[in-house]
Symmetry: C2
Subunit: 553 residues, 2 copies
Amino acid sequence: MAEKLKIISLGGLNEVGKNITVLEYKNDILVIDCGIGFPDGEMYGVDVVIPNVAYLAKNRERICGIVLTHGHEDHIGSLPYVLTDINAPIFATDLTAGLVSLKLEEHKLLDIADINIIEPGKSFKIGCFTIEPIHVNHSIAGAVALAITTPLGIVLHTGDFKIDTTPIGCEMADLTRFGELGKKGVLCMLSDSTNAERKGFSPSERTVGHTFDSLFDRCKSRIIVTTFASNIYRIQQIIDVSARYGRKVAITGRSMENMIRVAAELGYLEIPKNILIELNQIKNFPKEQITIITTGSQGESMSALYRMAFSNHKQIEIIPGDRVIISASAVPGNEKTVSHIVNELFRKGAEVMYRGSMEDLHVSGHACQEELKVMLALVKPKYFIPVHGEQRHLIIHSELAKSVGIPHQNIVISDIGKVIEVGKKSININGVVPSGKVLVDGTGIGDVGSVVLRDRKHLAQDGMLVVVLSLSSEDGGIISGPDIITRGFVYVKEASDLIEEMRTLVTETIYACNANDITDWATLKTSIKTALSSYLYKTTRRSPMILPVIMEV
Amino acid sequence: MAEKLKIISLGGLNEVGKNITVLEYKNDILVIDCGIGFPDGEMYGVDVVIPNVAYLAKNRERICGIVLTHGHEDHIGSLPYVLTDINAPIFATDLTAGLVSLKLEEHKLLDIADINIIEPGKSFKIGCFTIEPIHVNHSIAGAVALAITTPLGIVLHTGDFKIDTTPIGCEMADLTRFGELGKKGVLCMLSDSTNAERKGFSPSERTVGHTFDSLFDRCKSRIIVTTFASNIYRIQQIIDVSARYGRKVAITGRSMENMIRVAAELGYLEIPKNILIELNQIKNFPKEQITIITTGSQGESMSALYRMAFSNHKQIEIIPGDRVIISASAVPGNEKTVSHIVNELFRKGAEVMYRGSMEDLHVSGHACQEELKVMLALVKPKYFIPVHGEQRHLIIHSELAKSVGIPHQNIVISDIGKVIEVGKKSININGVVPSGKVLVDGTGIGDVGSVVLRDRKHLAQDGMLVVVLSLSSEDGGIISGPDIITRGFVYVKEASDLIEEMRTLVTETIYACNANDITDWATLKTSIKTALSSYLYKTTRRSPMILPVIMEV
């Protein structure tokens, strides 16, 4: 049997975040991206979610490189956690590499990392793969697609992309190159499905600049703008419009400061001389000459904008009339926190421009249906694998592929961990590898699993109570206690009757056990738990976790 | 000093849900609505949130009635919790009364309630107030505004409303009557601010019917539709379009069944003969003759649609090709659960019509800016109080009021608990009454407060551990233990080293205390907590709740 390519998504399918794709041929493994995800509401206490890379760890000797398509967290965020396991050379464009370095430095891992800078149009070879990065548009600079020449043909991974005909600070995505590859023949394409359900063509980044212009023109107040720190193009436009209207620009928020520093060093930001000022200089300028760029577009409770809204920012206070522009959409799950901050800004007398009140304050960085079809029609891949999306996005994207002529049987909708085998004349799913979510809590990677989460959920819902008593080793009688300690169950100061009744119930339970010659502690504990939990459910409709502690004296 | 009217919102301002307004003149108190709210993410284990009605309880003798504007939960849901405190006569239109009865029956409170049916256009008198209900459009039938004639003039409360020129099953909101009152002179208006940030005019309920028509026409599959159970107009349209295309209709989901039964009994639903079938009859009809109306429009995990999507519904299984229509928008906070269900329906091969994939599947029941201005311009109130909204909605609504000519100083943006005093020639805020959220958990009303919630949050984040040891009463030496019990902290089976180190640390701590002649338990416990928590934070970056239990033997 002829060797086949294996393509495995270890993350990023049927979920949001933690994108990571594995491409294998014979002995060589290539890893594309290494992203992070964030906990959902049921993952109590979890900080971040990373992909299970057990399969890669087991085959670490075969990995010839980790290639990154761009510097967003959902594509690079897991590196600090997995590099200790699979320390392969990293390949990334300069801005992506700068962000990775910043991240690894924070985790004190920069020394062990081998980071190599790549450039659009300049191919490089790792293992049996020759990789050509291709410039694409996205909501971060330095984003590339990857055309990977393998012994069986070209595999094209679009990365996250959109097609912007009037981009800021860069060219339109290199459609010509995609077309050339299409003419040459592409064996298989993996493409970004994020916006597959959106009709039409995503608006250009430049449209937001027009909105900024209309909001800056003749504005006599301070202007405070928040956006995603990683969106350098947006930040460039805020700086440009500020320069145009004679405003100085102050920056607040750690991630914003970091991002602007890295991007400026690498030449991704053009900052006019003398336009940047420190926060403490704001007071030296009239209001109409001030722009403040801040973090907090998702309503994050530690962000600079949040602290301004709630009068908790050391240097900036909202003044009635301040024009606050929220140039971002709420990431699903953040709607309420954003709404919270907007309300508070209104209360402080700010004039807030946000998604609910006006349009064109933000554009997506992902291709909509017409762009996805342009990509499909240019590349004309033999086989197609929609990636980077939930089930509905993958299915809708596959319908788009059919509409431009890719046969139904040449499209594979996969799932995390499934092994797609691609030959010159075949594509099919064959087998699975270990995969899934690994939860990170503090320094613990993977030690919080279903048992711990189940307990945390139980504790969160109804709290807990510890029943402490000591029993005589001679006759099993109660020597001290029962004492009842509760946390998160009821307000103890107002529940003394309830606690007294629990103590009585435990005492009765012990005596009943004694009367029946039950002396083993496991049974005693179970009896106490059963008696208490049914009593408490009946009286309070709550089911706290009950921990009996028995000492023998 | 002349007596003034007092108007107090005990809920519904600067929050979502639990609408309740108090109107007072001299000795008479009128309560308008009595709604419920739902817990936010920080309210661990809380079932529902009700308004603090301590002020009403204290003045219960003065309350002459509770008037309900319509039957949505955020206007009637608290009745079962507060009726035991303030049992005043209830006044409501027939459908609202039907829903209230259903609710009170579930709570075994129907016997104590005095429910009176009111009708649009028919005034009634309670205390010094003469109340005229006025028909309005909303996303539930039987909704009314209230024109309340007081000794000082007319107070108009719009309730929740929209203006629908082509409504289903009812007339357009009675604009004529609002205009007549406006000509007569309205002292003060309170108006719904929910959609104050939306420009234009909210689309008619009928537009959704047109969408249904296009989705039913020539459809050869089963059609499964979900919407809010309370939206009888929507359900009427689903039944009508099913009849038009020769489909039978089956109903699933308890709240949907209840609602349809109550509405049909009261004549709010016109159901053609022989169109309704039982779920077990579905199999007797071809697919193109079946419509299923189901609960689950918010992705609720116990709902019928959820159970269908996850193959957990006893009678209905999704068949590839089923057309599923989600005729609702996700209530803020529910976006992820709706998305979850949509993905699973796609996976099962259903064709899903949802907000992301097509428009006009749902319309709001609240007035947009043009409608709000029509209401303001018709009623021309002397004083204006925007209600039912978050801060930004109230402020935007007040701007709308200014734009139609209400002077700035005649508008009051209030907050929960603040007392607005309205005289014939004055309006101002003067004082506050007790107010806020009361959390309901199980049968406990208000016993879960900040201490309990703080503990639940702590337990949810990092779990807990109990340290048990017994000490000699003679020399303070350790007789047994320390034993460590953890829940929700680490996976115990893989943390034996950590637990062993904790035991050693506790032992060392006790000996160190002994060496320093420290014997009082409070200090011992604090020492154990401090030692363990700093050790655990250093090694795991987690801070579990630590409960030392010491027994003296």
